[in-house]
Symmetry: C2
Subunit: 216 residues, 2 copies
């Protein structure tokens, strides 16, 4: 599948590009800075994966079959509002965590729509928005020596078929499982849980993620 | 340690009473219905654990050294406001998940204070409120045949010593780990994540909990 990653030159975007190319997908890394996207894409394209990786503008990346959003939250609404046409009819996977930081560490930013994913769905009424990939450590994703992820990927959405597509995409990360974890209206707490994982990382000097226990 | 459980006759309270008594703690199950609390406590008191279990009123349970709150959210504020004197100077562990349910399943209830735990801290300014035990399955807690929990317990709070006490309490559940997961202001998403676990339980017919990945 041809996958576009908006804001794909950041740590999360690069990690996903690596894993998706390794799983045989073709990846378009989109960025405001096309030259930077090209340069980063070349690294992954030369890594010998079965999928190719190319760079381009966010608008070009939005032309892919499935599009992942990894921009910082402060640029989220403006970018999506500018790409409604390109994203119409597609699965849009929102990984954005609306977090603020102060001297006491990270905290949840309030989003009028309830969550970044619900905001995306409001801005993109003709797309099918799925929330996923919030907790997988960008550091581990982008580390080619890590080939057995202990993390699960919580996948949220209101369209069962789109959820299944994204669960499959997540399960392509070696060791990880894509797990349905509720409707889009329950995405806010999943996004904000990243603040707790950052607190765990700081206290225990680790790269924390989450796994779902119980038989699945 | 002598532990009181407010609203302790519900599934979560009963499960915690069993595990804490098994770990050698003395447990006071509090309830509005003292006769019911007595009857339920007798079951655990007769189970041969090294700690004793007794029933009583919520006010009596609030007299213990450490107090756990497992009431439904709709009774949370009223109960705590009535026990400020009994709870002053103590560690109060809030396990309450403010959730609503409709035909589409569970969802997060908005709490003006940010979370049930922050609401508790506002109502109990002389207590040290810690948020914990939101995700451990009540069914598994109360099943004496389960002796190796795969779940972790996220423990949130602003007082490092109190966090350590509650982490130790959680780690007394065989197999579980109590893990510091941030300040109290990050409790809302941990409480609300219970909605996602309920969605997972419904889709996969399981008793889902969470485990933290990464070296701790």
């Amino acid at each position: 599948m041809k996958v576009g990653i908006l804001g794909g030159t950041g740590p999360q975007g690069r990690g996903l590009a690596r894993r998706l190319a390794a799983a045989g997908h073709d990846v378009l890394i989109g960025s405001r800075d096309v030259e930077r996207a090209d340069r980063i894409a070349a690294e992954y394209d030369d890594a010998g994966y079965s999928g190719w990786v190319a760079g381009g503008s966010n608008s070009e990346a939005a032309g892919a079959e499935l599009v992942i959003i990894t921009v910082p939250y402060h640029g989220h609404a403006e970018l999506l509002a500018s790409l409604t046409t390109e994203l119409a009819g597609k699965i849009v996977v929102d990984c954005v965590n609306p977090l603020g930081f102060d001297e006491k560490g990270p905290f949840q930013l309030l989003v009028a729509a309830g969550s970044a994913a619900q905001e995306a769905q409001q801005l993109l009424p003709e797309s099918t928005v799925i929330a996923a990939f919030h907790h997988v450590s960008a550091v581990l994703l982008d580390d080619p020596t890590v080939d057995d992820f202990p993390d699960d990927v919580l996948v949220l959405g209101d369209d069962r078929d789109a959820v299944a597509v994204v669960c499959e995409l997540a399960t392509a990360i070696p060791g990880a499982r894509g797990i349905y974890a509720g409707r889009l209206r329950n995405a806010g707490q999943v996004e904000a849980l990243t603040a707790n994982l950052i607190a765990i990382n700081r206290r225990y000097k680790t790269h924390a993620g989450i796994a779902v226990t119980g038989e699945l």
